[in-house]
Symmetry: D3
Subunit: 127 residues, 6 copies
């Protein structure tokens, strides 16, 4: 798949790139967006959704990034693990926090597997 | 798979159940542990690991539970989603926080899939 | 999806059912085959492949069933976990073996997740 | 993620490395451990668990390694596939056994997918 | 999780329900939307995205539904398999087409697993 | 894993390679087959199955390839995404069709995750 740089992008794609750069305060968009530009409507829709979802709300930006990282790790997406680890660090994730997040991810994987293999019925108290 | 109640458990299993109940301040263990008791060494080891990993540290208990929930949701474990949603609520996850967590999980799933399908190379800045 | 019983099956489907029953020495086929009969060519091909793959060879039938069970558990297929647990027990898997298999599955899930999240490069010695 | 070599490791990490090397009779630990050393408590706990789980018991070490490999393959962990293929070969997995393991993994993937897509209900006989 | 019926929904949620019903020509929305209404912004955003993505374009609606079904089956989402099987049938998927789709899904699962386990390098011709 | 070229292949493997080349009208087989040749019975069986499943039927070859691609993308198999993207393009998938397929895959991932996390019960109308 090609990566579409700003210089080679259509006005429609440049408008999305400009908004990403302004919202994030970065000089260039990362490769995910340059790859997604192969389908401009998906680029525009995905960015609009992400901007809305990741805005501060009841959860702070760092917590959102760590949740994003946890989900990406469980899904095994190497690119997403790399990009959301970087984003979480930029929002304040320390080495100690990162280490504990790793530990939780490992335990979740183990207990998820055990619960599914054992076919554990959901407790009434959890319904 | 059978669920092993306290009354039917061996002393080895009861000791783990007792520690779970004391640590969590609950009157009975949930079904996951009653199913895992089919293999007492795995029961004992898993509980010892979980107790260590979920103890307060650089991350607070609510954040750890939401990370656990995110990983369980991405792995598709229905039992684990139910139990960790209950645990996160017990530690203070409000409806608004739960809604935003859902939104992040949905976006992560979408962008994880797109990044993998597009084969996006990791940016130098993320290494 | 309907389950197609022998009495309602076409001659093409009955021929497959007859071969499953004869090969396994069972009075009826299990639900997987009754569901797969919705597409007779897939029923016939899948059974022919399975019969070949699960025949004794360099690996004995019990080991093959435990490998099948491990793969099904890691894929989270509840039906397959149930059917291959039953098949493994029928071929001699004891409670102690089952417990150790569970323990291996749990550790594999945990270390798989950690290795992927850490992005560990493959050692030269493993290539 | 950095890989932490013995020379650069803390005494706490060196103690784990020393135990891995002694238990396995190898001159150095593999990359998984060098990456996991980023969080010493997770390194120590994971190794302690793995040493216990993979010790000989009701299942012999080769069978345990093949189960580990099957689970890792179903989870799609490239590093784990490489390391556990090497470990299984070191414990006696022949080319013929490896070929049959591959065949079982392929059939499991296919029948897992079919059973889930068809929504097959679990047979009474398997409960 | 509760299912929120039209009668109990807020005006914000009713507006989305009304648009789903009008767009699809159905008397009520299906359970997915009633569950998603727990977080109105995610309900509104997800429906707006889905309406855009599933509109006729270079791919016809039946092909889009079969692709959706294939992806849902590979992800193991039972609800999504049920709903998109129904939607595909409503758009003209015959029993024969459904049977062939199942066959493709099964083969994809098998060859995906084999390619990943073997670590096959991508051919130059595919880049 | 080694890739076995035609020149180094046994007569049994060459026969499969010859059939692949003749059926597809290509001068050489792609890497998947060269890797699978490590176990000739699996090579022969997988090719025989694939040739049958991908033959024209109620679904045309392009639709089958796009379904294969969707399933491979949802399973996260990088090799399979590359090979089936190439195959779909060779059968007529345009850039616009590819873009819409990507959009459907992204939405499916998001709604699959949301439906599973919410534990949505299947509507009576879908049964």
């Amino acid at each position: 798949m090609p990566l579409i740089d700003y210089a080679d992008a259509s006005p429609e794609v440049r408008a999305v790139y400009d908004d990403i750069k302004a919202t994030r305060g970065v000089p260039d968009v990362n490769n995910f967006w340059k790859a997604l530009a192969v389908h401009p409507p998906t680029l525009a829709r995905t960015w609009a959704s992400l901007r809305q979802v990741m805005a501060p709300g009841a959860l702070d930006p760092l917590t959102k990034e760590m949740i994003y990282l946890a989900a990406s790790a469980a899904a095994g997406c190497a690119y997403c693990i790399a990009s959301h680890t970087a984003a979480a660090k930029a929002r304040g994730m320390t080495e100690a926090m990162h280490g504990e997040l790793l530990a939780v991810l490992g335990m979740a994987a183990e207990t998820n597997r055990l619960a599914e293999t054992l076919g554990v019925p959901v407790d009434e108290a959890f319904r």
